[in-house]
Subunit: 184 residues, 2 copies
DNA sequence: TGCAATAGTTTCGACTCGCTACTATTAAAT
DNA sequence: ATTTAATAGTAGCGAGTCGAAACTATTGCA
């Protein structure tokens, strides 16, 4: 089996795994897209929680992301806040109910990963991450890394400073996902 | 980072990869489900090409699978054949047009996999396959292996014999996916 | 013979998804 | 300073997924 055949097989396996995972309702009352959006919002800093950012992260359009977020808001899992600075933009914050839903929901997939030898798990996590980053680079998309590891981040007492957005950052800002992230 | 955290991360990476892959339209005029169903039908033997089997493979319901297959039939990519033996059941065969669509469509994901060191690719393919099989076993689902590797398969001149379905098999039957497959 | 299981379909409601068209706001160019 | 272009978000459309439930038509049992 050569590499190209492997590539096809891997593509199919990834599709199948995500189907098997989606078929199980570990995600409570949410469909896969809604859960993914909610999980993203919970890990993104306050500069990265708009419909556009979610659309970028989920590799979909602003229209679709907008609807998904409206659905989450209807279910009281996120709150809508209009920005003061830029009156066009909106920020969504995860509510208490929303966070409760995200508390490590177990799934067959998680269980099965836990049973793999830790060496295999390392390899798997590493190579999947490599694949995601490589695809994003290929499409010149955002990498969605952690703020603190960005080249625009400058450490300061009690947090840091972003030289791109030109704003001071508190500790939690700097530990969350940022849409503007660029590797150092 | 412990194993449970890894499990969550891997689950998210798989979801994200399949989204990134789905967002690209390497699959022509088909959506991801339709493409997956078509690809399955092209690799399944004549005993494994019904709506129920597709539903099992895609981890969805018969209703949904039925609709997906009707959509493919409308597009002339598969043909419907009613069974003589069991008048309830239907078999779908991939048409020439259908096969043409499946010819190794390139994608960012394939390209990126090809760039990984072959050692990593082996590990990735292996562990993903392990995960799929483990989940299926956990849910007592079908493994969808190749006919020839099944414990009900007996090699014979020009093909083989299935001791479960009690039918003679030609060469191509035995090289395709079978719904009844059980590891030897 | 009669009843339960099976194969497939249909319909419903909620939703995804890409798309286009549209409003409001902000930024850039003249 | 004013026009123009870009950006953020939304609404509506059509095709389709998805689970669930209700519904035929067969087939298999007891």
């Amino acid at each position: 089996m050569n590499d190209t055949t492997h590539a096809l097989a891997i593509r199919e396996l990834i599709d199948r795994l995500s189907r098997l995972n989606a078929a199980e309702d570990w995600n409570g009352p949410l469909n896969p897209s809604q859960f993914a959006a909610l999980a993203y919002l919970a890990r993104a800093n306050r500069f990265s929680r708009s419909p556009s950012h979610v659309a970028d992260y989920l590799a979909t359009t602003r229209g679709t992301a907008s609807q998904t977020l409206k659905a989450l808001a209807r279910k009281k899992l996120i709150n809508e806040t209009r920005s003061e600075a830029d009156k066009r933009s909106i920020r969504y914050d995860v509510t208490g109910d929303g966070r409760a839903l995200l508390d490590e929901p177990a799934s067959d997939l998680s269980d099965v990963i836990d049973e793999l030898p830790s060496e295999t798990v390392e390899c798997l996590a590493g190579s999947l991450k490599t694949l995601v980053l490589a695809i994003l680079r290929k499409r010149s998309g955002r990498s969605f890394g952690i703020c603190r590891s960005c080249r625009h981040f400058a450490p300061q007492a009690g947090g840091g400073y972003c030289s791109l957005l030109e704003v001071p950052l508190n500790k939690s800002d700097s530990e969350e996902i940022c849409h503007e992230h660029e590797a150092a």
